[in-house]
């Protein structure tokens, strides 16, 4: 059974149980954060780097974490920012648009990274790569993580209305892609 966030924070507040608390936090969130990063950047090595960066930032800043926010929202926010920054850097490095970064990531889907899943699953991930980075993130948090709009809003600092609009458009684009013949 996983420990709840308030217990983790209480343990973290005490010097002697700080490492134990962080171990519990890692145990609770590492897979969720890895999969969030993996779906965003596709490549395993990139996702691995990102997940490590995220938890190092969590470790360094957990002392200053304000208890009025939810711990998972805060961790997801760090992970989301890391992923968006990574994609932005990749865009600058390759001198390509974020849309083209999506094309590159979509190409990765045909590599050995993507070993299972049928044709329709490939199409879903290829469709996700056509979305702008932040819209893709919103789609992920809603569709895969099944977070409520209010939770996504707390994570990304975007209004619920804008999130609904973005998700609605993402769903429309993905549906059209799934129904397309190529």
């Amino acid at each position: 059974m996983l420990i709840n966030d308030s217990e983790i924070l209480e343990k973290f507040a005490q010097e002697r149980s700080r490492n134990e608390a962080f171990g519990l936090l890692l145990q609770k969130y590492q897979q969720k954060i890895y999969w969030l990063c993996r779906r965003m950047v596709i490549d395993h090595d990139d996702a691995d780097d990102l997940v490590q960066e995220v938890f190092i930032k969590v470790w360094k800043n957990l002392d200053g974490f304000r208890r009025d926010a939810q711990l998972y929202s805060w961790i997801y926010r760090i992970a989301s920012n890391e992923c968006l920054q990574f994609l932005e850097k990749k865009k600058k490095r390759n001198h390509t648009s974020l849309h083209d970064v999506g094309d590159t990531l979509a190409d990765n889907l045909s590599s050995s990274d993507f070993l299972s899943g049928d044709q329709i699953q490939r199409k879903l991930y290829a469709a996700m790569e056509t979305l702008p980075a932040k819209q893709k993130l919103i789609f992920q948090l809603k569709y895969f993580e099944e977070l409520k709009y209010e939770e996504i809003s707390a994570t990304l600092g975007t209004s619920v209305g804008a999130l609904k609009a973005s998700f609605h458009l993402a769903v429309k684009k993905i549906e059209a892609h799934l129904l397309s013949k190529d």
């Binding site: 171990g23 890692l26 145990q27 590492q30 897979q31 890895y34 999969w35 993996r38 779906r39 395993h44 691995d48 997940v51 490590q52 938890f55 190092i56 470790w59 990274d113 993507f114 070993l115 299972s116 899943g117 329709i120 699953q121 490939r122 879903l124 991930y125 702008p132 932040k134 819209q135 919103i138 569709y143 895969f144 409520k148 709009y149 990304l156 975007t158 209004s159 619920v160 209305g161 804008a162 609904k164 609009a165 973005s166 998700f167 609605h168 458009l169 769903v171 429309k172 993905i174 549906e175 799934l178 129904l179």
Partner: protein, 144 residues
């Protein structure tokens, strides 16, 4: 309740997506998650044990530089304030057209919720006329 309604709404609009099983098609190297915590801990330890940077410039020179900078900024600010103190704005001299143009350029807090709620032309005829869906999407992506 509203969230459920929205959820049903997208499922109706995207039946193919709604019917799809949420399978994770990615694979990770064997034992990856079992060792991830350890690798993160090792990296944290490595970062914590990094030697502190050696200070080549003595501390007093930094304080001296900061004091000089404060003086320069203070004098510049004082002179600037003195120069502008006599300048007054006569609102009557500004043409109405310029005020309208300024407001049009700076009013940008339209709520995206309003847009999505009115995307359906039938429920709000005329509201979105002259604005195509691509333009609406561009606006939403920019406002995220």
């Amino acid at each position: 309740m509203r969230t459920n309604m929205h959820s049903k709404q997208w499922q109706e609009q995207a039946p193919t997506l709604a019917k799809m099983e949420k399978i994770n098609p990615f694979e990770v190297p064997a034992g990856y998650f079992e060792t991830l915590s350890d690798r993160i801990s090792q990296r944290m330890a490595a970062e914590n044990t990094k030697p502190a940077k050696i200070r080549i410039i003595p501390m007093w020179t930094r304080y001296a530089a900061a004091a000089c900078l404060t003086c320069v900024l203070g004098i510049t600010l004082y002179l600037n304030l003195k120069q502008n103190a006599s300048a007054t704005v006569n609102w009557n001299e500004i043409p109405d057209q310029e005020i309208v143009a300024y407001l049009e350029m700076n009013l940008e807090d339209a709520d995206a919720a309003l847009i999505i709620n009115n995307l359906d032309e039938q429920s709000a005829p005329g509201l979105a006329s002259g604005v195509n869906e691509q333009e609406i999407e561009m606006y939403i992506n920019q406002s995220l």
